[in-house]
Symmetry: C2
Subunit: 249 residues, 2 copies
């Protein structure tokens, strides 16, 4: 079972869009895929139209009030472990109750879970407790970033955090840095991408996810891109990413 955590503390870099559509593309190859929404803003949950009223979510799973299976939401081709705003309170509670080893909370809660080939975790735009839980759970990070200037500073911070986590004794790999929302018409995108490849060489995916409005439209239909526009470039790019991820494993 391969676990991947999608992380970038900078906002709006394509984390949720990547978790959903990489998940869908892996599932299209016949793999069993679980997507975990670790964001109290529950963007992943909402973009797939998952309702959580009166149901267990990842918050109850983290505090061990519910089994993972109780909170799963089965879509035709993907399983979702959904989130809700309650997760913000749960994060504070876990920090109080286990101040010295809270980063292990997700790992503990999902220990022994079977039945999936891939588990992909979507993180909030921060490097706080929830993101730390996500990182320690998988030990394997996919970092989507917008090919713009502000992205590069953010990357340094995550890489600094990775170093700290390794020094604390948790293994951590950078599965890959994913240029997202790539605007083929501007030189800025190209300049940032070139800079990335020069400085971080084989840590940057070959695949870039190009700007494509269908990726922004799909959530309005509660669909992933392969269901919404299977022939478009959003689908093409995420299928290419899935192939790269499979080759790495």
């Amino acid at each position: 079972m391969r676990k991947i955590t999608v992380i970038n503390q900078k906002g709006g870099t394509g984390k949720t869009t990547t978790t959903v559509n990489l998940g869908a593309a892996l599932s299209e190859t016949g793999r069993e895929v679980l997507l975990v929404d670790l964001d109290p803003q529950a963007g992943l949950t909402e973009s797939l139209g998952v309702e959580t009223t009166g149901r267990a979510t990842v918050a109850e799973v983290l505090t061990r009030e519910a089994e993972p299976r109780d909170a799963f939401h089965a879509l035709p081709h993907l399983t979702i472990l959904p989130s809700s705003p309650v997760l913000a309170e749960t994060e504070k509670r876990i920090l109080r109750e286990r101040p010295s080893d809270y980063p292990l909370a997700l790992k503990d809660a999902l220990a022994g879970m079977r039945g999936f080939d891939f588990v992909i975790v979507d993180c909030p735009p921060s490097l706080g407790a929830l993101s730390l839980m996500g990182m320690v759970y998988s030990g394997s990070l996919l970092i989507p970033l917008q090919t713009q200037y502000m992205a590069l500073n953010g990357l340094e911070k995550i890489l600094g955090m990775v170093k700290t986590i390794r020094e604390a004794g948790f293994p951590m790999e950078i599965l890959g840095i994913l240029p997202c929302m790539y605007d083929v018409r501007t030189s800025l995108s190209r300049q940032v991408e070139e800079h990335l490849r020069e400085t971080l060489r084989d840590k940057v995916f070959r695949t870039v996810i190009r700007q494509s409005v269908s990726l922004a439209e799909a959530p309005a239909r509660s669909k992933d891109i392969l269901s919404y526009q299977p022939g478009g470039r959003g689908a093409e790019d995420y299928r290419a990413l899935a192939q790269e991820v499979l080759r790495h494993g």
Copy 2:
């Protein structure tokens, strides 16, 4: 002195870009403008090339270890109260030291500050303690949002938070909702904008900030858009926003 807090818990909606460029456009009309970076990721600080090593920042001002003036960084046409990663620790400390009235921390720290016509506060992508401090400080919210599906859910949450704050006795106005990163070529942008105007009528600015790569390039030169590309549409849109903000006051 007018105070404005730029807020949206959704990531990457143009908060920092708006704080910088609305500030610059107001300053161009002869007003004295202070920009406060309330994000531990310090995007505003970095996008204007402000160095904070060995210097006081908003974190030390919040804990009253420094006067606001000690932390100010004067640019030719704007004053910055910069941030640094230390602010994440400061947020936790303030929550511990004043658990019942921490939302007042920024208001207290900047009380009696003179010399500015406008103070604009840039918030992180969350509705946590720092954002709450920013909201209570000004009582006047500017909400930039990306004209895409995911933006609408986020808006409900902020409006819910506004209601809660008012019920707690703090006055709070929505200065305006600002459609950002508006892609003139797609119907999605238009549909989301129309939906906004139908449901929230006079709460939505007339001005929309259109997608313009120069807005993403300017930070790489540590410049605001009026210095970087004064004749472009990024500058045009933020000048129009400044006029609307001035009329409202």
